[in-house]
Amino acid sequence: MSEELLNLKDVKKYFGLRGAPWRKAQAVRAVDGVNLVVRKGETVGLVGESGSGKSTLARVATRLLDPTQGRVEIGGTDVTKVRGRRLRPIRRRIQMVFQDPQASLNPRQSVGTILSTPYRAQGIRPTRAQLVELLEQVGLAEQYLERYPHEFSGGQRQRIGIARALSVKPDLLVCDEPVSALDVSVQAQVLNLLADLRDELGLSYVLVAHDLAVVRQVADRIAVMYLGTIVEEGPAAEVYEAPAHPYTKALLSAVPVPEPGVERDRIVLTGDVPTPIDPPSGCPFRTRCYKAQDVCATQRPVLEPVAGNTEHRAACYFPEPPPPERT
């Protein structure tokens, strides 16, 4: 088994809500007990609806946010308590690509300045050749070094964002919805770039997305989040072909089929996602689940192997049966 790059152990992140002092303090449980391991060379897709805690989890993993509880291990060392200056060497191992390439580039800095920021943060003055190499790695020409972000298209800006993340030569890139702000035609280009970089540089990814098609294209493993917890996790092909958790099944049934005339059995979920301030007892999904029974309200189900397969796990009392073996 290859090296663990990132290991999240029972990570929780609650955001305090400010209210009147006489009211009971409330907290938004954005991430509520997540275990996740990313190994070298692997691409893990993290999918879920808006508000499921994907982006928060990504920020906890990159140590932009402190976890309320739990452990964050990067490259085998516990970095939960590491702060400030001592975080710098750790930042070199794990980097983040942001969702909105417009907002993630400083409008008053030229591309050259943006790309040299990571070097300067580490106390290094980059040479022009180093910056040009970074640009070329993401398919941009040297002449763009003096330009400013507003002179670029969305796809080009995201390439610059990726180049910035690559500058410190990380092992792991956490991409927070890297293509959701881009046109569909440009999405594919950026995803291909990410795939090429993985092969070239031996990178690993955590790919946060709400678009299942995007994840399917590049991920080896998939983790499905719902209301701050992972409800199903497993090899991408298996999760797609044989989803075990009812929520995953419902999500996949909503993906349109690019085949005219083919009707798919859609599972339409009713109701809204419950508020993360006061999540349901037991299974967080039980309020919308078509299989829910009394036991679901008692205790939160834990991730358990599906049909004896330890790689594929789901947190459900009544997992979908695996499809019959084709003969």
Binding site: G84, R91, R92, Q95, Q99, L105, R108, P118, R128, E142
Partner: protein, 309 residues
Amino acid sequence: MSSSVAGTVSPTRQALRRVRRDRSARVGAVLVVLLIVIAAAAPLLVRLAGQDATTYHIDLLDPNRGNAPAGALGGISGSHWFGVEPLTGRDLFSIVVLGLRTSLTIAVVVTAITTVVGTLAGISAAYFGGWYDAIMSRLLDFLFGFPQLVFMIALGIIIPARFPRWLLLILVLSFFGWAGLARLIRNQARSLVTREFVEAARSVGSSGWMVITRELLPNLLGPVLVIATLAIPGYIGAEAALSFLGVGVPPPTPSLGRSISDSIAWVYTGADPWFLLFPGAVLFLAVLGFTLLGDGVRDAFDVRLRRTS
């Protein structure tokens, strides 16, 4: 670093280019430069005129008209370009240019202090947040609610005369002056801090100082520059007002505000309205020049009015 791409300019340089194209801003800039040169060269100009601001010329006064300057136009002559002061006969040109020097120096120094302090306080409050921001914000509220003018007048009376007045003026004006800029910058910076490029800078390991100076400050340059240029005429006026009220720069140091204050009675009686004209006109031009320039800078940097991309 030579640019291989023609026409690539930073947003800041674009804004400055817009200032240069704005006609009223150009007028303001010319006025400002002219007045600064005059103020800087004031002792030289006074010597060139062969005068000084302290020598009494009783012989140039008309005792029959209550010691108003003898002759027309407030006693303007080849040796006294702006005429002479009534009652004392001191050279008005020397008093006006040296007074301008006093006013501009105080205004510029106070603006420099308040700009630096206000910007740093505002950015740091926004960046660090938490209790630091809470304390800073309450302090700003306190400074805003404080009856500044009454306090300044009281202070001017209490502080012993041994303490240099110009320094007192600078300290008091600075003490109250930074609050406005700090609050504005804090609010602007708070919206910047949540932007992803600040997170991106943090995620590559930039220190707080680097984030403040390299990520936030360049984005706040516009508002800082605008407020600074518009603050200068305000402080010129404030210094003049305090001197007018008698708690500013004490005699014999020339001050535009005190000259204007002294001239009121002579304008009332009609004995020597020229005494008001020259210091009043110079004060007006100084305020006008900085205001025009400041307006131009604001228009050029105001992203809400203009968005080229």
